[in-house]
């Protein structure tokens, strides 16, 4: 709760500094504010406090995921000064929007009430619509914002309609009350309830980018400024998954017959479509967008395997996916800055003059592909184990087939970097700016590879 307040205050301060033209103060405020929020967030550990009539629940699940969101946001801000280096204006609007959307994300993990869920999602999404179009001179960025806004608000409509129907059936927005209703009426669930749940699932599937509601992802991810894409692909996705998990886990665990089949269909479609579509991409940014779709499919499995330690598995998977994605996008930012293109060809020969960056990209790609001993493998394997314990062997087999396919496209940038000669032989200028930060996230990824057990047993 206090983390939300902290971040909101930081965002407002950033706006003020921008208004008074004090550009130099903005980033220091953020770099103090985010760690502060992180610490404030941790203070509620093991206390499970409820705020505002159970609108907001500060349990360990919330704190773990909010900690992750704050940490990811901090990592992304690390890249902000280098990414926006050539921009002269203070950029307070962009930074403040990122922080406000982060507030939305923090609410989504903690809701105890469907109204709060909707509020969180809208706070996150509205800021993201604007951020997607923040590169005003670029038509693709405008296109991305437009597409994202139209499809996103459509999905919000679904979500809202679902919430309304659920309210009609149960007479409450509160997750606990809905759970009580479910337990009492398990035998005869009214159609209104099931339809409401399905509509909510559709709305959330859209937000996480699960097939068949993934069509916005490639275009929006590709068109948005890369820093914002990174933010969407990590904070946006993790927050939406935490919300999805909390919704299903706290209210609908007992009526899994209502949602399980459709989620399995979503997961299978997402894994297959994401992985196979990624095979045919020439732009690495678009490939990463489809890889994000595929990973959404894997994370859906954590929701399907609800019982057991699925929350820990989801957390581990979110950590592994986010850090690796940030690393990959950071390298992409650097390559783009130097070559002006996202295509796989612009990676040619990178290893020769920028070995550190190439190493980081390799680690990120191998982790995303799930090659041991990196954290991506631990996450996948824990996920598969928890799914298989719930008797989802066919689903796991499909997921593993998806992983096999993914090895191919994740290796393409690696191969281009190490084994294809580039035309130019001078080191990238941009590498000097990005090198330290990229190395930092890559090392973080390696360190995390040794402690998946700690992460999974956290909640």
């Amino acid at each position: 709760m206090y983390a939300i307040i902290t971040i909101s205050i930081v965002a407002i301060i950033v706006l003020f500094f921008g208004a008074f033209g004090k550009k130099k103060m903005i980033l220091p405020v953020i770099f103090v504010g985010l760690p502060l929020a992180f610490i404030v967030n941790l203070m509620g550990w093991n206390q499970s406090i409820h705020y505002f009539n159970e609108m907001y629940i500060d349990d360990n699940f919330t704190i773990a995921f909010n900690g992750l969101l704050l940490f990811i946001a901090l990592l992304i801000f690390v890249f902000a000064p280098v990414y926006y280096k050539s921009v002269k204006r203070p950029l307070e609007d962009i930074y403040a929007l990122i922080l406000f959307s982060l507030v939305g994300g923090l609410m989504m993990t903690a809701f105890g009430n469907l109204v709060m869920l909707f509020l969180g999602i809208e706070t996150l999404s509205l800021s993201l619509y604007l951020l997607a179009g923040s590169k005003k001179s670029d038509p693709r960025s405008n296109e991305a914002a437009m597409k994202y806004f139209l499809t996103g608000s459509f999905a919000s409509g679904f979500l809202l309609f679902g919430i309304a129907l659920l309210y009609g059936a149960c007479g409450s927005f509160n997750l606990e009350d809905i759970k009580l209703y479910v337990i009492q009426n398990q035998a005869n669930i009214p159609a209104m309830f099931s339809i409401g749940l399905l509509l909510m699932a559709v709305g959330l599937a859209f937000k996480v980018g699960a097939a068949p509601f993934h069509f916005w992802i490639p275009d929006v991810y590709e068109g948005s400024p890369t820093l914002i894409t990174t933010y969407m692909a990590t904070v946006g996705k993790v927050a939406a998954f935490a919300a999805f998990f909390r919704l299903i886990n706290s209210s609908f665990g007992d009526v899994d017959f209502l949602w399980k089949t459709s989620l399995i269909v979503f997961a299978v479609a997402t894994i297959l479509i994401g992985n196979f579509a990624a095979l045919y991409q020439d732009s690495v940014k678009r490939m990463m967008a489809y890889s994000g779709v595929a990973h959404a499919g894997y994370m859906l499995i954590a929701i399907i395997a609800l019982k057991g330690n699925a929350a820990g598995v989801l957390l581990l998977y979110s950590v592994s996916y986010s850090i690796a994605t940030i690393t990959a996008f950071a390298v992409l930012m650097m390559v783009r800055k130097e070559t002006g293109s996202f295509s796989i060809k612009s990676f040619n020969g990178l290893a020769k003059h920028n070995p550190t960056v190439a190493f980081a990209m390799t680690i990120a790609m191998l982790s995303l592909a799930g090659i041991p001993p990196l954290i991506g493998f631990s996450a996948k394997y824990q996920l598969f184990v928890s799914a298989i314990e719930q008797g989802q062997l066919p689903l796991v087999i499909i997921a593993i087939v998806g992983s096999m396919v993914s090895v191919y496209y994740y290796l393409r940038p690696v191969v281009a970097m190490y084994f294809t000669r580039s035309i130019e032989s001078t080191p990238f200028e941009a590498a000097k700016l990005y090198k330290k930060q990229i190395l930092f996230v890559a090392l973080l990824l390696i360190i995390l590879s040794f402690i998946p057990g700690l992460i999974i047993n956290l909640i």
């Binding site: 598969f384 298989i388 992983s403 096999m404 047993n457």
Partner: protein, 474 residues
């Protein structure tokens, strides 16, 4: 303690070498580290010979941190392969020539490979096994792609995808086995061995494991990556692949297929043994007409490992013992063979058999050593292969006489292509490329010494290995 040293030493050496600057220092350091590992593995081997019933054991319960249980166990079967690995890696490192422009990373990757290989043979937890199994791929992929010959890039990707697909099948099998273990579920080998699997459970398990191992070994018809990869890889990479990495697949058969799917192996052998046997003959026949020496070695290796797989799956005690022994021998022999190839290519810059000839007259020391290695490959009595192949054929004979007779044909075929090759390369007229062939230097001979010792030691006195095995093969 021994296990920890065996794993940590090469790993740290590898990390250290990644920061290395000069090539010669890196090579010396890697050689020193790998020799230390060899000594440690011999100590482990000695402990097991003294008390063969026991096994070296190491269990560090870090599940709450690492997410995997660090459970290692080296028994009599494992130690053979650990020793094989630690024997061959120093030879492979030492064989690297100064002129080849290797960077320190090359040696770092080899040491990383050694860590992974020892991990595979020492692991006693299925997930740990899988992690090392996959980890071993990464260094060999980079070695082949970075330092390989023509088309190495394309071929190494094909190789990587081929084997990753295979190991994903193994992952499915592992997860399936995990669900069958009684709650709380476990990934340790012991808990798998205690399972009483029904026939219908064994069939999918067998298929998944067999596919993974057959791709790795490789067995016909999954061999298409092998010849290309050997050919494209630098010779050190080929040695790692043929000498040690293939043994991972065979080791997998011994560890999992035989104890877990014993009924399927017993009943179904007649379905897949002929297929493997076809691969054996196929490899040998193609080897006869190979114009390139390296490809000849690759096809010969395909044929030899097929025979080993036949022995292991023949469902008889002799076959299994012989197979395990032969795995060790094949590793030694094929590395020796590749070394001879390397010596020739280094001097003549060609591996076309038709362009070679008359080497024996100018290089008598090389001729002798090459002869010993060729004869070991032919499985002449007193060499290591003889014992293994004899036991394999004996085991096969008790299982099915027709198969054994056809398999026996390969002994003739091996002799044909090996001796024909030797005759063409070493005798006859000197060609332009062999005009200035110099004999082996002292340091080159030193490379062959451990191989020749291993050939004769196992060939003359195989019983100390077999005694070790008898306690484990049941």
């Amino acid at each position: 303690m021994i296990i920890a040293l065996l794993l940590i030493l090469p790993l740290f050496a590898s990390i250290f070498l990644f920061t290395g600057k000069t090539v010669q220092q890196s090579k010396n350091f890697a050689l020193l580290a790998s020799l230390a590992v060899f000594v440690i593995s011999l100590v482990g081997g000695y402990e097991l010979i003294v008390a063969p019933e026991k096994a070296l054991f190491s269990n560090v319960d870090l599940e709450s941190i690492l997410g995997v249980n660090l459970l290692f166990k080296i028994d009599a079967i494992s130690i053979i392969f650990v020793i094989l690995t630690s024997l061959l890696v120093p030879i492979i490192i030492a064989s690297t020539d100064k002129k080849e422009h290797r960077t320190p990373h090359f040696f770092a990757l080899i040491m990383l490979m050694q860590t992974a290989l020892i991990g595979v043979f020492a692991a006693s937890d299925m997930i740990l096994f899988y992690i090392f199994w996959e980890l071993a791929l990464i260094p060999i992929f980079f070695i082949t792609a970075r330092w390989g010959g023509e088309n190495a890039r394309k071929i190494s990707i094909k190789f990587l995808i081929y084997t990753v697909v295979g190991s994903f099948f193994m992952l499915i099998a592992i997860l399936y086995l995990y669900t069958l273990t009684p709650a709380p579920h476990s990934f340790s080998f012991d808990s798998f061995y205690q399972l009483k699997l029904s026939y219908s459970q064994q069939i999918p398990l067998f298929l998944a494991f067999f596919l993974a191992f057959a791709i790795k070994i490789p067995l016909f018809p999954f061999h298409s990556w092998q010849v290309e990869t050997y050919n494209a890889s630098p010779v050190q990479g080929s040695m790692l692949l043929a000498g040690i990495m293939l043994k991972m697949g065979l080791y997998g058969i011994v560890r999992f297929l035989l104890p877990l799917c014993s009924d399927v192996v017993a009943n179904g052998s007649l379905i897949f043994l002929p297929l493997i046997l076809f691969g054996v003959i196929y490899g040998a026949v193609i080897a006869i007409s190979q114009p390139h020496l390296k490809k000849l070695i690759a096809f010969a290796s395909l044929s030899h490992v097929g025979i080993i797989a036949l022995g292991l799956l023949s469902n008889s005690r002799y076959g299994i013992e012989g197979g395990i022994l032969q795995m060790f021998s094949h590793g030694v022999n094929v590395v020796g063979f590749f070394l001879c190839y390397y010596m020739i290519v280094k001097r003549t810059k060609t591996d076309k058999i038709s362009e070679l000839g008359g080497i024996a007259s100018v290089a008598p020391r090389f001729a002798t050593i090459f002869m010993i290695i060729v004869l070991a490959n032919v499985a002449l009595p007193l060499t290591n292969s003889f014992v293994g192949e004899f036991l394999i054929l004996l085991g096969l004979f008790t299982y099915n006489k027709i198969l054994a007779i056809i398999a026996g044909l390969t002994i003739i075929l091996v002799a044909v292509y090996m001796l024909k090759m030797y005759q063409k390369i070493m005798f006859g007229e000197k060609k332009a490329s062999t005009e200035n062939f110099t004999d082996l230097t002292f340091s080159e001979i030193m490379l062959f010494v451990p191989i020749i010792i291993a050939i004769f030691a196992v060939g003359i006195y195989p019983s100390f290995v077999l005694q070790l095995l008898q306690s484990v093969v049941k």
